[in-house]
Symmetry: C2
Subunit: 246 residues, 2 copies
DNA sequence: CGCCGCTTTGATGGAGATCAACCTTCGTGG
DNA sequence: CCACGAAGGTTGATCTCCATCAAAGCGGCG
C-alpha cells in the first residue's frame, strides 16, 4: 500500500524490515477513495489527520477573492501532507484530486506511535517534510524568475524525478494526468499560452505530453533548458549514517 | 534576547514563565553579529545549527545558473530557520543578511532539550514551522497570480503583520530595510518597475517607503488592494487549549 | 568635495494575457 | 451504433504589462 512512500524515504535512509512493516500498517489503517476532480479538504476545514497519497494525483490550491486560482503543489503517490497539520485550527488552502485518488488517513495517535517507535522513521518523515518545503521554495523561484518554457520544463523535471524517486517512472517518462488549464494554474500562465508552449517544446523534440503521459526525449537537455538543479530534492541519502542493517 | 520569538509564539499558545526562561536561555547561548549584506550560510554548506534571528533582517535566496536571483523569503526578528535542518547534508539555497543581524545559533542538543522539556514549546515551534510553510505557499501564489501593485501590497501586508505579531510594529507602520533592487528580487519584478509601482502606490496614498521605514496610510485599503487574507499566518491562538496558567 | 549606492526618468520592445472561435475526443444514452 | 454534448485542446488577432537599456538625479559618508 505505501510502497511509494517507503521507496521515497529510502532515498534518505535505509529502513529496516520492521520499519517498513510499521509504515505499511499505518498506511493501510483507513484508506478512502476519492473521485477525480473532487475536493479532499477545503480552505477553512479543520484538518484531523495526516493524509498519505497511496494512488493517483492531487494538488494543493488556493483561490484569490476574484476567482484566480493558483496551484501551489502536486501530490503524487507516496506524498504526505504536512506532518503536524493537526496543530492548526483550520486549513488556509484546499487540496483537491486530479485523478481518482486513494488516500490513507493517519491519525495523530498512529503517527505518534510510528515516530515514537523508530527514530529512523521519525527522521525520515522529517526529512520528507524538509524536502516538501524546499520544493515549495523552488516553485516560488520558478514563478518569479523563469519564462514559460523554462517554467514548464522545470515542472516536468521535478515531477519526473519525484515519481522516479518513489519507483513510479519509466526511463522514457512518467504519468502526468494534468490538463492544460491545470498546468496553467500551476505555472501562472494562461491556458492558451500553456498550449503554445507545449507545442514549442514538442517541436523542439524535448517532450511530448499526451494521454496523461509525459514522454521525455532528452532529460539532460530538458534539465539544462530549465536550469534544473536537483539538489533541492535531497536524494543523496543524507541519512545514510542511520541506515538499518538488516 | 528572544523576546520577539516569545511574543510570536504566544500567538499560538500562552507560554509559562518557565517556558519563556528556557527559550531565553536557548536563544542566548551563542549569539553572533553579521554585517549588512553578508552571506550567513551558502548553498552547498552543511547546516550545523538552527538559527534564530534576534535582530535585523535577512533573506533566503537562490541564484539560477545565469545569474538571476530570487529571494524566497525574508527573516525578521523572532524568525527561525528550518527546525530539522541538520538532517540535510547541504543547503539548497543561501541565507544572507540585509541589515546588520544578530543571530543565535541553537545547537541540535539544546533544541532537543528545549523541545523535550516542554511539550508546549515543542508544539509552538512546530506551529511556527507550519506557518513558515504557509508563508512560502503564499509567496508562490503571489508570484503566480498577482500583478505588480498587488504583489507589493501583499508583501507589505505580510511583513507588517509578521512584525506586529512579534511586537515589532507601530500603528503607523514598521521597519522595512530593503532596497528596491532587493524588492525586485523578492517580487520577481525589475528594479525599474518596482520603483514605478512604489510611486503609484505612494500617489494613491496607500503607503510610503522611505528611510528603511514602511508607513501604511490605510491598512484595510492595502489589504483589499492585495486581496490579502491573513488566515495563512494562523494568528488565532490555535493552541489556546494548551495555554499555561501561571 | 566628490564618489558610490540607490532611486528616478524616458524610450522602446516583447512575452504573455485576453477574447472569441473552432476543432477533437470520448463517454453516454437513445 | 450513431448522435450529441461536454471537456479538453488548438488557432488567430489584438492589447497590455512589464522588461530592458541608458542616462541622469540624489543623498549620505569618508
Amino acid at each position: 500500500m505505501s510502497q511509494a512512500l517507503i521507496r521515497k524515504l529510502q532515498n534518505f535512509v535505509k529502513l529496516s524490515a520492521t520499519d517498513q512493516r510499521a509504515l505499511e500498517r499505518a498506511g493501510s489503517e483507513r484508506v478512502r477513495r476519492i473521485g477525480p476532480h473532487e475536493d479532499i479538504i477545503r480552505e477553512g476545514d479543520k484538518p484531523s489527520s495526516v493524509m498519505l497519497i497511496v494512488d493517483g494525483w492531487a494538488c494543493r490550491y488556493k483561490y484569490l477573492e476574484d476567482g484566480r486560482r493558483q496551484i501551489v503543489g502536486f501530490f503524487v503517490p507516496g506524498d504526505i501532507c504536512d506532518l503536524n497539520i493537526f496543530l492548526l485550527k483550520e486549513m488556509d488552502h484546499s487540496i483537491g484530486s486530479l485523478t481518482e485518488v486513494l488516500i490513507a488517513d493517519i491519525s495523530r495517535e498512529s503517527l505518534e506511535t510510528l515516530m515514537g517507535v523508530s527514530q529512523r522513521i521519525a527522521q525520515a518523515l522529517w526529512w520528507d517534510s524538509l524536502v516538501s518545503l524546499a520544493i515549495q521554495r523552488e516553485w516560488t523561484i520558478n514563478l518569479g524568475q523563469r519564462d514559460a518554457v523554462e517554467r514548464m520544463s522545470h515542472l516536468f523535471c521535478e515531477m519526473f524525478l519525484r515519481q522516479q524517486s518513489a519507483g513510479r517512472a519509466q526511463i522514457s517518462g512518467c504519468e502526468f494526468p494534468v490538463t492544460q488549464a491545470e498546468l496553467g494554474d500551476a505555472t501562472g500562465l494562461s491556458t492558451v499560452h500553456v498550449n503554445r508552449t507545449l507545442q514549442q517544446m514538442r517541436s523542439a523534440e524535448m517532450i511530448t505530453l499526451h494521454n496523461k503521459r509525459l514522454v521525455i526525449h532528452d532529460l539532460d537537455a530538458l534539465m539544462r533548458q530549465a536550469m534544473f538543479n536537483p539538489n533541492y530534492l535531497h536524494l543523496g541519502r543524507d541519512g545514510a549514517h542511520l541506515d538499518a542493517n538488516d
